[in-house]
């Protein structure tokens, strides 16, 4: 334990997840004080471009998007699960199979809807407004109903004391400049103010666990802050507002430095080789980034994290090594379910496997209250589309792993809509099926469960009390 010098970096990161290795020093690292209280934590796992419904949703096995599908020539009614509203036993569908070992620790929620605000590409709001606190049509100066996202709002409360208020991870490894920021980010400080994500595992590792290079710029922050204050006076009103991001960024970094300094002794015990070259297979890449996220949550570096497995739309093909021998574009395939449905189901399953891997990892980490990290967190899986082919914003695939420290029920399937299923376009607009609830209700429920005093979140109409213990 004392010398980890010869253990590879990746081995170390893997090791972080096993309680045997992690507990002795990682807990002291996380605890820091005697009156250690298990913190509230939340993480979000975002899957782009929707899912194939028939293999994801219980009772929708009959639904399928036909060859030559177009959005008004199918019988939406026949695709509905007709499952009653309320709690059901959780039945794992083919796509959810990877969660088999964790069945009693996850909850599936069906029938949650969003509203697409016409005026942008349909994919552009999928991720960028997934966690948004703005109601559709509420903002006048932008086509996006986009405001401070849930992760930051939660962190304002539950991330006050961690070195990083939030952490953003992404597994977008595209290097063509093809899409705008709206397709590539789920985490936003505010409207048009993106919280960019870490996507290089090595850089992320250094930032999180090697704080030594920071002290070097400590001495110039005072100078530049002072200068920024005088510059601000020279700006117009709206520029002054936007320029606030500069102060906020520096303040945040200063706090990070301070808190990381407090943890430095512990962090310095981690002495590692850092081999890192070549392009990693996609699954390994996602798991490695996920390892970093889990390690950050475990060690108390942050209490709130978002994790985007890939960007919306972005047509550039990826190589999914374990699935196909040639690079495939998830988005392009989603536009032709008739032809690619089997491949799409494989992609859905692949992303679920990675989610399950992270859940299992969290579930192996024992914490001071005798429960596991997974028990103590709310780890939400979700996509911005209910189906990649119809582009519907309703009947979304949403799963929660963990119970947030015993606050949420687990092992169930909650259906909130009598008509969850594929959605047809009528008169040019998507009809949200009757009886569903806004996704924002779930976000409000999570926020309140974590102690935030909120009456509403975006277009929420209330909380979902049947999710609570």
């Amino acid at each position: 334990m004392k010398t980890m010098k010869n253990i590879g970096r990746r081995t170390f990161l893997r090791g972080l997840g096993t309680s045997a290795l992690a507990l002795p020093w990682m807990e002291s690292l996380a605890v820091g004080s005697k009156n250690y209280k298990i913190p509230q934590r939340a993480a979000f796992y975002y899957v782009p471009i929707g899912v194939v419904r028939k293999t994801f949703f219980p009772g929708e096995g009959q639904s399928s998007v036909q060859r030559n599908f177009n959005n008004d020539n199918f019988d939406a009614e026949s695709t509905r699960s007709n499952l009653g509203v309320g709690l059901h036993d959780l039945k794992l569908t083919p796509t959810m199979k990877p969660l088999d070992g964790l069945k009693d620790k996850v909850t599936l929620i069906t029938g949650l809807d969003r509203t697409f605000q016409p005026g942008t590409d349909v994919h552009a709001q999928c991720a960028s407004c997934f966690l948004s606190s703005a109601s559709p049509f509420s903002l006048k100066h932008t086509p996006y109903p986009q405001a401070r996202s849930l992760d930051h709002i939660l962190a304002d409360e539950i991330g006050k004391d961690t070195p990083f208020k939030t952490l953003e991870f992404s597994c977008n490894s595209h290097n063509d400049n093809k899409e705008s920021i709206q397709f590539d980010n789920i985490s936003w400080y505010g409207t048009e103010h993106v919280a960019p994500s870490m996507r290089d595992p090595l850089l992320a590792y250094r930032r999180l666990f090697k704080s030594d290079e920071r002290s070097a710029y400590k001495n110039i922050t005072d100078l530049v802050l002072d200068d920024a204050r005088s510059l601000r006076k020279d700006l117009g009103y709206s520029d002054q507002q936007k320029f606030g991001e500069y102060f906020e960024s520096i303040r945040t970094i200063e706090q990070q430095i301070l808190r990381l300094d407090g943890m430095r002794n512990e962090l310095s015990k981690v002495d590692l080789d850092i081999p890192m070259d070549g392009k990693m297979p996609r699954g390994e890449y996602i798991r490695l980034m996920g390892d970093l996220m889990v390690a950050s949550l475990q060690s108390g570096l942050t209490n709130v994290a978002t994790f985007m497995v890939g960007p919306e739309r972005w047509d550039t093909p990826y190589l999914f090594e374990s699935l196909f021998d040639k690079p495939k574009s998830h988005h392009m395939m989603s536009h032709n379910q008739g032809k690619f449905v089997e491949d799409l189901i494989k992609v859905d399953h692949f992303y679920m496997e990675q989610f399950a891997y992270l859940c299992e990892k969290m579930n192996r980490i024992e914490e001071a209250n005798g429960k596991t990290l997974l028990d103590n967190i709310l780890f939400t899986y979700g996509s911005g589309l209910g189906d990649g082919s119809t582009h519907q914003y309703s009947a979304l695939p949403i799963l929660i792993a963990g119970s947030g420290g015993g606050r949420f029920i687990t092992g169930k399937h909650l259906n909130v809509s009598a008509k969850s299923g594929l959605v047809k376009k009528v008169n040019g607009t998507f009809k949200t099926p009757d009886g569903g609830e806004p996704l924002a209700n779930l976000w409000l429920t999570q926020a309140k469960a974590m102690g935030l005093e909120l009456d509403r979140f975006a277009d929420s109409t209330g909380t979902i009390s049947s999710l609570l213990v």
């Binding site: 016409p118 040019g428 998507f430």
Partner: protein
């Protein structure tokens, strides 16, 4: 032109529907006694837009026929004017507005728009304060230090000059040049660069826009950490030495003995701060940086080293990192400050970097905003080699050339497209062709219409072979490629629309995508991108699934028959199908593989019939002012760092008008853009019309 409507977001489906729905026409208003906009609305529009509660596309015009003032809604005015001007309204199938009347309506609407947006100067929209892009940051550091190596690799640059061909002062592009491509899938690494300096992430391009767009350029703690890290790693890099840093003696050399140390520090700092902050600094700001250096020296640090630390602080300072117009009350008064803002805008536009001493000097004298000086400076900037930065950023983004990187023609069907493992493709030659044409039109100050139709082009041996010409010389490797200037006798080629790059990146692996091509032409060439596609675009059935005897046009027929698709297709189809003779990898074809003839005929803007690509180019040239206006809009949006809006519309008209008499030369266009009111900025006093010749 793409406009963002602050208050009216038209539902795209509804907006499109405007195009389809019958608008009843009783009789031409010309037959009536008097022309009026209200009368025209009544005759052509309100049947669908207001009568009996019908409000197609959420556009209700009935109140305007009842006396409401149209001028109160410039966004709506702009929209109406465009759909009428481009012939999108009234929709096909209705009695059209004849050309004379159409022109009258457009002229009248234009007048109303002018009245609507004239008024106080502060209504001119400013770009928000924004941080530099990665590209600008690297250039700025390089220029401040007169660095002989790159700061960090920039895959933003698609084409690198390997033979020193780029000599804007000569006014001539050579007949031969060596260029190297951005290695596909790798981040360019050819040039020597600073050791131990790692870049921050590349900035993404706004949709239908540029990476300079201000609302996309915000700061976060993660990025600020990068800036701190960068500012340190640059001065600590072993490459930060007298050999690489051109201004070493000026700033970073050990101070000589026997001179007044403090005076020396003062003079070094003053110049550095002025350059980095793009303005002379006031005493307060100066003393902050001065005392910082002084403290370091008091701790025993040598002056050159203290200057390095100051430089590192400067690179993290908002005065360096941010682009902004001074907006405080005080600055409105000061002409030199407005001039300094203009100097920065100008240098980031044409050099992608900070202004040089000369530009700052004339700005401080407050003469830059005068026509004569502005012309002189722009002329100078256009012959400086830093102009390469403009060529490395604007044309690739304007043409959306990044899309070629992810184009993957089917490996079986287009085997010869790939020529070596793992990533070498003909793409790498293709992407140079339009860029070299653009640079030639700029450097040689030729007519921008040559971008549509030119009698010369640039080809590598591989590209010649690709197009079916006899290759001239060796095929060459993938990294450094020889291009030669060749005359084009066959008008199917020439210009950039039909370049292999454009044709390939707007195709799928197996077949062309006429609608994607149409959207590209609409957005890039005419700056009128279609609204986002409806959510449920039915996929075009793959080849195996459909009747193999159909042509692509026939297979699309059911799109046009569907009410919610037809609107867009009426606009995009002619633009895209005109290019059908170019297959998915940009080669000429007369027939589809099923033996059917390619039909590339159509009508542009419902007025110019064409039967093939050459006639299509002619049709575009008949509408040359629309193209030039579109290009002017692209340049302006790129330079200003924001989307354009109706208040810029008049400026675009004036720009077009002023370059008409200049043979549409590229430099006159840039001059006119720079002299336009939106570019000069809200606070510079100048007459509304810009007709001065340069």
């Amino acid at each position: 032109m793409t406009f963002r409507f602050p208050n009216v977001y038209l539902a795209p489906e509804l907006f499109l529907r405007m195009v389809l729905v019958l608008c009843f026409l009783s009789q031409s208003v010309l037959a009536k006694k008097e022309f009026s906009i209200e009368g025209s609305f009544e005759s052509y529009c309100i049947e669908c837009h207001g009568m009996k509660g019908k409000v197609k596309g959420e556009v209700n015009l009935i109140s305007f026929t009842e006396g409401k003032d149209l001028k109160g809604d410039p966004e709506l005015l702009q929209t109406i004017m465009e759909v009428i001007d481009f012939g999108e309204m009234p929709p096909e199938g209705n009695q059209p507005i004849d050309n004379t009347e159409r022109k009258m309506i457009v002229a009248e609407l234009k007048k109303l728009l002018a009245e609507s947006v004239s008024g106080s100067e502060k209504d001119l929209v400013k770009a928000p304060i924004r941080r530099m892009t990665r590209f600008q940051y690297a250039n700025a550091v390089k220029d401040l230090l007169e660095l002989k190596v790159e700061v960090f690799p920039l895959p933003e640059k698609m084409m690198r000059d390997r033979s020193g061909y780029f000599k804007p002062a000569s006014g001539k592009m050579p007949a031969k040049m060596m260029v190297s491509s951005r290695p596909l899938g790798k981040s360019g690494l050819i040039e020597p660069r600073m050791d131990g300096v790692a870049p921050f992430p590349q900035d993404l391009r706004a949709e239908n826009g540029y990476d300079t767009q201000g609302d996309h350029l915000s700061l976060s703690p993660l990025l600020m950490e990068d800036f701190f890290r960068l500012s340190q790693s640059i001065v600590k890099s072993p490459s930060f030495n007298p050999k690489n840093v051109g201004v070493w003696t000026q700033y970073f050399e050990k101070s000589k003995r026997g001179i007044n140390q403090m005076d020396e520090l003062k003079s070094r700092l003053q110049h550095l701060l002025k350059r980095a902050f793009r303005a002379p600094v006031d005493d307060k700001t100066f003393s902050k940086y001065y005392s910082f250096a002084e403290q370091e020296m008091n701790k025993g640090m040598e002056m050159g080293d203290a200057m390095k630390d100051v430089f590192s602080a400067i690179l993290a300072s908002p005065r360096f990192l941010y682009l902004y117009d001074r907006g405080g009350e005080e600055s409105r008064e000061s002409e030199s400050r407005q001039n300094l803002d203009l100097a920065s805008r100008l240098s980031f536009f044409l050099w992608g970097s900070v202004p040089d001493d000369q530009l700052l000097d004339v700005a401080m004298e407050a003469t830059l905003s005068q026509d004569e000086q502005l012309t002189k400076q722009v002329d100078r900037m256009l012959t400086d080699e830093k102009l390469k930065r403009f060529c490395d950023s604007f044309p690739t983004q304007w043409l959306q050339l990044d899309r070629i990187i992810s184009a993957v023609p089917d490996e079986k069907k287009y085997r010869d497209f790939y020529y070596g493992p793992p990533l070498y493709r003909t793409t790498m030659d293709m992407m140079m062709e339009p860029l070299l044409l653009f640079e030639t039109v700029l450097i040689e100050d030729r007519s921008v219409l040559e971008l549509i139709d030119s009698n010369y082009t640039f080809r590598s041996a591989r590209l010649s072979k690709w197009y079916g010409d006899a290759p001239n010389g060796k095929l060459g490797g993938p990294v450094t490629i020889r291009f030669t200037r060749q005359s084009v006798k066959d008008r199917r080629h020439g210009g950039l629309i039909t370049n292999g790059a454009v044709m390939t990146m707007t195709s799928g692996p197996l077949e062309t995508k006429p609608i994607t091509r149409g959207a590209w032409v609409a957005g890039v060439i005419f700056n009128s991108p279609p609204p986002p596609p409806p959510a449920e675009v039915p996929p075009l059935p793959e080849e195996k699934e459909v009747d193999d005897s159909l042509t692509l046009r026939e297979r699309f027929a059911d799109h046009r028959e569907r009410a919610d698709c037809a609107g867009c297709h009426e606009k995009l189809d002619p633009l895209g199908f005109a290019l059908e003779n170019f297959d998915p990898v940009g080669r000429w074809r007369e027939k589809y593989h099923n033996g059917r003839e390619v039909d590339a005929s159509g009508t542009l803007f419902r007025s110019h019939k064409f039967s093939n690509i050459i006639e299509f180019k002619d049709a575009i040239l008949k509408e040359k002012n629309r193209f030039v206006r579109g290009l002017a809009g692209h340049l302006l949006a790129f330079g200003l760092g924001r989307e354009l809006n109706p208040s810029d519309s008049l400026a675009l008209d004036e720009i077009v008008e002023s370059v008409e008499g200049e043979n549409y030369s590229m430099k006159s266009l840039i001059h006119a853009v720079v002299k336009s009111k939106p570019f000069r900025g809200p606070s510079v006093k100048l007459a509304l019309t810009i007709k001065s010749k340069f």
